[in-house]
């Protein structure tokens, strides 16, 4: 230990690690602890009083006779979140793979520019990006006007504040996370392997399914994880494009710290979400020997 404290390297790394440890790792552990505490009578928590109510509440509720009955409200919100995330992942993959492939076949200078164009929206404000979709999708908005002008009597599109709008918005928000890791895989791909496949008589479909897709698999898997994970935790898109009517997990968590004031339940939900994320990261890193983030 004395050795470590004398090493210069320790003092260089310590500030950042201690800062993250104190203000992130400890809060996460504390959150798991809060989830097994009793809810305070007026909100907040009773420190020191243990209870598994947060986890029981997820599936059961007490009826008037004080019996536990199954309550599917929260399960529905989880299923909706998983469904929307899977849908988003599919759309993102269908759009993202061809785009990554297109970029990887361009000349070097053009590639850098296109990749830069893919990343720009990521750095812009998420509220603003979703707000822009409200302008496009609302009744009398651009899409509606365009369809009416083209002769379709929509009588109001009624798409904003539906799960479709949420899905469009989620795809838009997380699309860049699909393109970047796939592009990274394709860029490293040895083009001679593909040419060899052609020389051996493969047609284009076979070259794609037997050579290119398998070699791009780590990138595709990383892209899928990097889209699904933030999707499961999406807060802004369901709030704005779903109009608060189609809650996802993050909105349910958030509401426990607002109107519902059930902190242990919110902490329990947060812990479950965190566990899902960490487990999928672990599965990925066991299979591909790296973290999905490293592909970007």
């Amino acid at each position: 230990m004395g050795n470590i404290l004398r090493s210069k390297r320790f003092w260089l790394i310590a500030p950042a690690v201690v800062y993250i440890g104190f203000f992130m790792a400890i809060p996460l552990v504390q959150m798991a602890y809060v989830s097994i505490l009793e809810r305070g009578d007026y909100g907040g928590v009773n420190w020191g009083a243990f209870s598994f109510n947060a986890y029981v509440n997820f599936i059961f509720e007490r009826d008037l006779m004080d019996n536990l009955v199954v309550n599917t409200d929260y399960i529905q919100i989880f299923l909706r979140s998983f469904g929307l995330s899977a849908m988003t992942m599919t759309f993102a993959l269908l759009l993202g793979f061809p785009t990554a492939f297109y970029i990887s076949t361009q000349p070097q200078g053009r590639r850098n520019l296109l990749i830069f164009l893919v990343t720009i929206p990521f750095w812009t404000n998420i509220l603003v990006r979703n707000y822009a979709w409200m302008l496009l999708l609302r009744n009398g908005g651009l899409l509606d006007s365009l369809l009416n002008w083209a002769g379709m009597e929509t009588g109001g599109l009624d798409i904003l504040y539906t799960p479709y709008a949420v899905s469009i918005g989620l795809t838009y928000t997380y699309l860049p996370f699909m393109v970047l890791p796939i592009y990274a895989s394709l860029e490293k791909l040895d083009h001679r392997l593909v040419e060899a496949a052609f020389d051996l008589g493969a047609d284009k479909r076979r070259a794609m399914t037997r050579v290119i897709l398998p070699l791009a698999a780590p990138g595709i898997a990383a892209g899928c994880i990097l889209v699904v994970i933030p999707c499961l935790g999406a807060y802004v898109t369901p709030e704005l494009l779903g109009g608060g009517k189609f809650m996802m997990i993050a909105n349910l968590i958030g509401s426990q710290f607002g109107a519902a004031r059930n902190w242990p339940f919110g902490a329990g939900l947060g812990f479950v979400l965190l566990a899902i994320v960490l487990i999928s990261m672990m599965v990925y890193s066991l299979k591909f020997k790296s973290l999905p983030e490293e592909k970007i």
């Binding site: 210069k8 838009y172 935790g233």
Partner: protein, 264 residues
């Protein structure tokens, strides 16, 4: 992959058209938002004429300006602290391998792995438990945490690409460690540091979810203010504020990208 794009074998059906659709999908909302912020019409999306009035309305809104000022205070403070910590950490991490390196690396990027909403409520619970009053200070502390990896990664990448023999040469020429750092390493490293700092700044300026939960009632940052306005309704003023936020982000990221490409 280095391919001859003119070779017809490399043309797969639907690839180019999907890529075109992709970029249109990505940029259509941004273009529409900026265009509508110059639209004279107060109500609908119907174009009735060009005006910059909504920008003047937005810029003379005192609440908005106060929120913007709060955002700047938060972003500058978080960026300065995070960039210093990240630069030190990156220098420590590049001096060869050591025991527990993977754990330390994982800790440094932990803020990128945890979903934002989880970070938000865990940090909120933590501040409540230790009894710190929620406000701008708690927002700054929380932002610094997720700014560290955004500053760390570009600085680390730049250090990795640097020739270690340059600093060694300085040492051979009797520079002490501080002189070698100041005269050799730092001049080579500054594009990485600046690029990392700019990314931290923009990611802090744009953050909504974490600020919303750890800020409490008093501390309104610009994204929190915009969220409140959007919930009330779509107005040309929101269009103008949003367009300004978009442009600030795009300019910062572009400059950061250009700086990062400066050669050693």
């Amino acid at each position: 992959m280095k391919v001859d794009a003119s070779n017809p074998l490399w043309r797969f059906r639907g690839i180019t058209s999907t890529a075109m659709f992709f970029f249109a999908y990505l940029y259509l909302p941004i273009v529409v938002l900026i265009a509508l912020s110059f639209n004279e019409n107060r109500l609908a999306t119907i174009w009735t004429g060009f005006t910059t009035d909504w920008y003047l309305v937005a810029l003379s809104n005192d609440d908005m300006l106060r929120a913007a000022q709060n955002s700047l205070v938060v972003a500058v403070s978080a960026t300065v602290i995070a960039t210093i910590a990240a630069t030190l950490a990156a220098m420590g991490m590049t001096r060869g391998r050591f025991r527990g390196e993977n754990g330390v690396s994982a800790m440094l990027v932990l803020p990128l792995l945890v979903p934002e909403i989880v970070t938000a409520i865990a940090t909120l619970l933590f501040f409540v438990a230790i009894g710190i009053k929620l406000g701008l200070l708690t927002i700054i502390v929380a932002h610094t945490v997720f700014c560290i990896p955004f500053a760390y990664l570009p600085i680390r990448a730049r250090l990795e690409g640097m020739d270690p023999s340059l600093a060694e040469a300085a040492n051979d020429l009797y520079a002490n460690e501080w002189q070698a750092f100041k005269r050799v390493t730092l001049p080579l490293l500054w594009p990485g540091i600046l690029s990392g700092a700019m990314l931290s700044f923009i990611i802090s300026l744009d953050d909504f979810v974490i600020s919303y939960f750890v800020g409490g009632a008093g501390a309104t940052t610009l994204p929190i203010y915009i969220f409140g306005m959007i919930r009330i309704g779509i107005t040309p003023e929101v269009n103008a504020i949003s367009a300004m936020m978009l442009l600030v982000s795009i300019i910062f990221v572009s400059v950061s990208f250009l700086i990062d490409r400066i050669r050693y």
